[in-house]
């Protein structure tokens, strides 16, 4: 079934935010702070104003003092008087063209006084560390108090540390290991982009690469103290998201610039700006202590995660201001006593945001690596320790949730059945590694409007298309619910003025949400005729969980430490699959993203600055890098809604790093505990005998 959006994208007709053309459109560029922490002493806009084509030059003092955020509202439109990371917006220039705006921005004279900076998570929590914010607890949405360490963004504690300690003390085997993850970037190919227009009557219009338009409207209204009804977010195609396109980013600034200049204003980031100053992935470390009894049954674990949130907390949407994947560590197993503490702190580095299943690749890399290390201690096969501990139906996970079904074991066996060892080059060693992940599927809030049009049907949605195939799935799902041919249904994304609020894209929830919403809409249409509008309340739908088991095969050169990932075999626990092609792409694209995290991606954050500041330095997988991909679906699960579906978007990218690290350990006995797994790190392990790679990098900075 072809995608609805495919033809427009293949012929160059799809309109993305940077393609929007508005009468009188002008362009903004920003001058950014070069220092991790500095006071803006003086700004001389004179040289910029003299550039022909410049319309205006603006500092923080010229614009709304409001701050924005997805939860914590701590992000200013422009920095001033303090700049809190290298790359922060300090001065904005509006001009007739983008290139003129950029040249003028480079000519603004900004005098800075460099200040002491807190550059790493451990360092930032020391009592003597420079405070990133004077009173972080005072921001709306903050979850910290004046009694907390000044650089804390959030602290979450689950389970019972006392029970976990007792269980570990009584265990036959215990490992205590710390794993580290470099900062990364979502790597969407369309950089952050938005355009704004303010009508003379005060109505605000925004076109933006943003996956949750109704939330954007709310966030803009809060920041700029506007009535949300006066703000309209218009639909555009989104050029990739992976968690990074859910914030207001440059939109509040664009709206203010449009208001002050009386012209529509567009701001499209250059890719180096996106890498150094948008909302990349958190870096951090996860310490895992996990034990088992003499038969390899898990007795307890205690996980302590400390992550660097950068200069602002406002790119995290959860009410707890944490990363949900970290909180849910160990969720696939039966563990009698568990505790997890997650701390995220402010530092004078680029603010961090969400990336595809936030916190989960990090938690799973640590936990699934530790599980292999524990199996090694206990003299057990890595497969066996998982077989003995994966949840069975009816058993609660360590955090007290009992799912309607737990198909981890079946998914593991399906992966092992499909596994076939591949040949390695002469002299290289073969290794196999396994890792497991499960994540819940929970529908979100969604609204649909059905408008019959002769023998055709128009369906209006507020859901953007960010690449996952939401609009195609909507058409297929509705066709099934109504017993219509899909080609008689036209999907239209409407602006935020058109429908009641919709949660937008995220949390692997779109297909599940639509699965419930299309049934309600079809029911309403049959009962009332058209046009009908339905809104789904997600609280009424019980969630399910889905498992993903990945088996990585690697070849390692024992001389150089070079690692070649030969194959990623991904087994996924599914119910019904609405669109086989789109479903497969989510799995394959996920596995390749997991491979990037495992082996390539590192923003090289040093001295508070991103050094991998272009896509040549920050390497994401290319067509010639990627391993062989095999996918095994494990059908028969119980899904959600009339289509009977389970989440897939944020599964296959999660276990990959652990599977590859486990495979490398299997191949050459070197345990790499720092990502990415580079030849240098493996080589260091090989040179040092039985590998202990990672600990020597524990001190100082980000890496």
């Amino acid at each position: 079934m072809a995608r609805i959006d495919a033809l427009a994208k293949l012929t160059g007709r799809a309109v993305y935010a940077a393609d929007v053309d508005l009468p009188g459109l002008c362009h903004a560029a920003v001058a950014r702070s070069p220092f991790p922490h500095a006071r803006v002493v003086a700004v001389d806009p004179g040289p910029a104003r003299e550039v022909p084509g410049v319309i205006g030059v603006f500092t923080a003092a010229d614009l709304s003092p409001g701050r924005y955020g997805r939860r914590v509202r701590d992000i200013p439109l422009l920095a001033g008087p303090e700049a809190r990371f290298a790359g922060e917006r300090v001065v904005a220039v509006v001009a007739e063209s983008r290139i003129v705006a950029e040249r003028a921005a480079a000519r603004v004279r900004i005098e800075y006084e460099e200040l002491p900076a807190a550059l790493g998570a451990e360092e930032a929590l020391a009592p003597t560390a420079p405070a990133v914010h004077e009173a972080a607890w005072s921001y709306p949405g903050a979850v910290v108090t004046p009694d907390d360490p000044p650089n804390l963004q959030s602290r979450v504690l689950h389970g019972s540390p006392e029970d976990a300690e007792r269980a570990l003390a009584g265990s036959a085997h215990v490992v205590d290991r710390t794993y580290r993850l470099a900062a990364g970037h979502q790597g969407y190919l369309e950089p952050q982009a938005c355009a704004a227009r303010v009508d003379p009557d005060g109505r605000v219009h925004v076109w933006m690469a943003n996956k949750s338009p109704y939330r954007l409207r709310h966030q803009l209204a809060e920041c700029l103290e506007l009535d949300p009804e006066l703000i309209e977010i218009h639909p555009v195609t989104i050029g990739g998201d992976f968690g990074g396109k859910g914030s207001p980013m440059d939109a509040p600034l664009c709206v203010e610039l449009a208001r002050r200049t009386g012209r529509p204003v567009m701001l499209v980031e250059r890719y180096h700006e996106d890498l150094t100053s948008a909302n990349p992935r958190h870096s951090g470390r996860v310490r895992v202590r996990v034990g088992c009894d003499g038969e390899g049954r898990l007795t307890g674990f205690h996980v302590d995660a400390l992550f660097d949130g950068g200069a602002y907390a406002g790119f995290k949407p959860l009410p707890t201001v944490t990363l949900h994947g970290l909180e849910e560590v160990g969720s696939s197993y039966r563990v009698p006593a568990a505790a997890v503490e997650v701390r995220i702190c402010y530092t004078h580095t680029v603010p961090r945001g969400h990336m595809r299943s936030p916190g989960a690749p990090e938690a799973v890399f640590a936990f699934e690596s530790a599980l292999d290390e524990l199996a090694h201690e206990a003299g057990l096969d890595p497969v066996e320790i998982r077989r003995r501990n994966l949840l069975a139906d009816g058993e609660p996970n360590p955090w007290g949730t009992t799912w309607v079904e737990a198909r981890g074991r079946a998914t593991l066996e399906a992966a092992l059945d499909a596994y076939r060892p591949l040949a390695v080059p002469p002299g290289w060693r073969h290794g196999r590694g396994i890792a497991v992940y499960d994540r819940p599927t929970r529908p979100g809030r969604a609204s649909l409007r059905l408008v019959p049009d002769g023998d055709r049907l128009i369906v209006e949605t507020g859901l953007p298309e960010q690449g996952g195939g939401a609009h195609t799935v909507l058409r297929q799902g509705l066709a099934r619910a109504l017993g219509m041919e899909p080609d008689r249904i036209e999907v239209r994304q409407v602006s935020t003025a058109g429908l009641p609020p919709d949660d937008g894209v995220g949390g692997s929830r779109v297909t599940a949400t639509l699965s419930v919403a299309v049934a309600r809409a079809a029911e309403a249409l049959r009962a009332e005729g058209g046009p009908v509008t339905v809104t789904l309340d997600p609280a009424t739908v019980p969630p399910v969980t889905s498992y993903c088991v990945q088996v990585a095969q690697v070849a390692v050169d024992p001389g150089s430490g070079q690692v070649r990932v030969l194959e990623l075999l991904t087994a996924v626990d599914v119910a019904e699959v609405v669109n086989r092609d789109a479903h497969r792409l989510q799995i394959e694209g996920g596995a390749v993203m997991g491979y990037g995290l495992a082996c390539l991606e590192d923003l090289l954050l040093e001295d508070g600055r991103v050094w991998a500041a272009n896509l040549g330095e920050f390497r994401i997988p290319s067509p010639v890098d990627v391993p062989g991909l095999r996918t095994v679906l494990v059908p028969g699960g119980r899904g959600i809604g009339v289509l009977g579906v389970k989440a897939v978007g944020e599964l296959a990218n999660v276990p990959t790093a652990a599977a590859i690290a486990n495979a490398v350990a299997d191949a050459v006995g070197v345990r790499v505990r720092d990502l990415p797994i580079t030849a240098e790190r493996v080589h260091r392990g090989l040179a040092g005998g039985e590998g202990e790679v990672g600990e020597e990098e524990a001190q100082g900075g980000e890496r």
Binding site: L7, L10, A18, T237, I238, L615, I620, P623
Partner: protein, 148 residues
């Protein structure tokens, strides 16, 4: 600087600053199918055909098109409907940001001739990054477009 060149099969004239980029030249004419990705010539989103060879328009001065022939994704899609059709059938896209570059690269390979195997197709696409698909479907689409 005054430029005369062929754009998607039509003769055109354009007046551009001497330091304008080819990417801005075509986008400025409303051909926004060509995308700016990395801006430094490594991701392939801005790929165009210049005299039937693929180039990164984000790092090429506009002046280099003088008297030459440029094809953007809009023109390539009209000239090679079989490529569009192959990508549709093999679902070789998701978000679409890299897609214009992939379509143009498929045309470049077709124009070069020969019967590339899978490895050669991958090698040909090595400079066209995609963050969504994992590439298998793109490689299949390009191979189908070539009839291989």
């Amino acid at each position: 600087m005054r430029l005369r060149f062929q754009l998607n099969g039509e003769p055109v004239e354009a007046e551009v600053p001497g330091d304008a980029l080819l990417l801005d030249l075509v986008r400025g004419r409303g051909l926004t199918g060509t995308k700016e990705g990395c801006g430094v010539g490594v991701c392939g989103a801005c790929t165009l055909l210049l005299d039937d060879r693929p180039v990164s328009s984000c790092i090429l001065p506009a002046g280099c098109v003088q008297g030459r022939e440029v094809w953007t994704v809009e023109g390539v899609a009209r000239r090679h409907p079989e490529i569009v059709d192959a990508f549709l059938r093999h679902e070789g896209l998701q978000c679409g940001a890299c897609t214009p570059g992939q379509v143009v690269m498929a045309a470049a390979l077709k124009l070069r001739g020969g019967e590339p195997d899978e490895a050669a197709v991958r090698e040909h696409l090595a400079g066209n990054l995609c963050r969504c698909t994992g590439y298998r479907a793109i490689v299949e689409s390009v191979r189908a477009a070539l009839g291989s």
